[in-house]
Symmetry: C2
Subunit: 210 residues, 2 copies
């Protein structure tokens, strides 16, 4: 009965904090960039975004800056900044391993911010996702074994296709993990600066087509 007090722990929080870590923005701009981070479809709506910004501000992770205006006389544009607490919270979110932490969407968002993430955290994320997928494989294989005769051809087809897809993703993750391990980054040492410089080239193999 108190709907305006949300605990807020979805993808949105992660994505907003991640984008604001790169640079301060106002809501409208944030929303456009969000579409990119969240995977080309699945645009977030203003009806989710603005309440979320208010909420994150109330929790001390963002601060509103009313008029950053240096050029135009306009008003009402609210620029959001990540606070120190917000930065810390974001780093914690990136590395933490809640039960829903490894679903498709959250993993995608985490990966989108890898350019600004410590290599140790990157490895933890990749391995967390991988072990989540291994569990899925176990379930799927068991289900296929049990269902060999009991299920109709269509269900069997669907499950087999699903199994193949998950297996492909595991192989893909293995490559990413191997690449991370073969190019260890120095800047991961406990030197206070928790953000790795972006090398931008060569650290991850370009996807190859079959």
């Amino acid at each position: 009965m108190s709907p305006r007090a949300g605990r807020r722990s979805g993808v949105l929080e992660l994505a907003i904090l991640g984008l604001l870590q790169e640079s301060p923005m106002h809501g409208y701009e944030l929303r456009k960039r969000l579409t990119g981070v969240l995977g080309a479809f699945h645009s977030i709506s203003y009806g989710s975004l603005y309440p979320a910004l208010k909420d994150l501000t109330a929790r001390g992770w963002l601060s509103e800056e009313p008029g950053d205006d240096t050029q135009s006389s306009g008003r009402s544009k609210v620029v959001y900044h990540l606070t120190a607490d917000g930065k810390e919270h974001f780093q914690q979110l990136l590395s933490e391993a809640g039960p829903d932490a490894w679903d498709d969407e959250r993993f995608g968002v985490r990966l989108a911010f890898f350019g600004r993430t410590d290599q140790s955290v990157r490895l933890r994320v990749l391995e967390g996702r991988r072990s989540r997928l291994e569990e899925r494989l176990d379930t799927l294989r068991a289900s296929l074994q049990r269902g060999r005769e009991r299920m109709d051809t269509y269900t069997l087809e669907l499950q087999q296709h699903g199994l193949d897809s998950v297996e492909r993703e595991v192989r893909w993750l293995d490559e990413l993990i191997a690449t991370e391990r073969s190019h260890p980054t120095d800047s991961d040492a406990p030197n206070g600066r928790s953000v790795t410089k972006v090398t931008g080239t060569g650290t991850v193999p370009t996807a190859r087509r079959t």
Copy 2:
């Protein structure tokens, strides 16, 4: 402010009607079978199921049969049946093409009931899913083109993997569609009986491993 009047149009409705079409059941049993239909993970909770059953009953698609009890003296087991209206509604749901009709979950559930679906509807569903995926491909390819230099290696990797996955699913669908076309079923004629007999073997190729 009137939360107890839901319009109800999610996967659940489709899955419940589909299972009850096969045979009447009570909630507890339904829930176990639902887990199978919905894809091995993603069990539905009683907190969703029972209200949904009440709702579908109120809408005239299900009827409650209080004591089917022939053996034990126990009570309180409520067996749900699909009504004639419910049957009709289910067939309509299967073939209709709403905007969310082709997402992963809904497509999976539709496919799970293919054994009891007309071939013409099967083809419509497969082709609907296919064209949905084609749209995705366009978006993804455009995004990859634009982002060649702008995106970091990780995001590029993720998008490329996503693109590959969707391409694989399109090829998979193409095979299913081709198989349907090369084995036309007679029982699709307007003969009043809207359910195709299950052949159970050979109509769809067994998945092959790469």
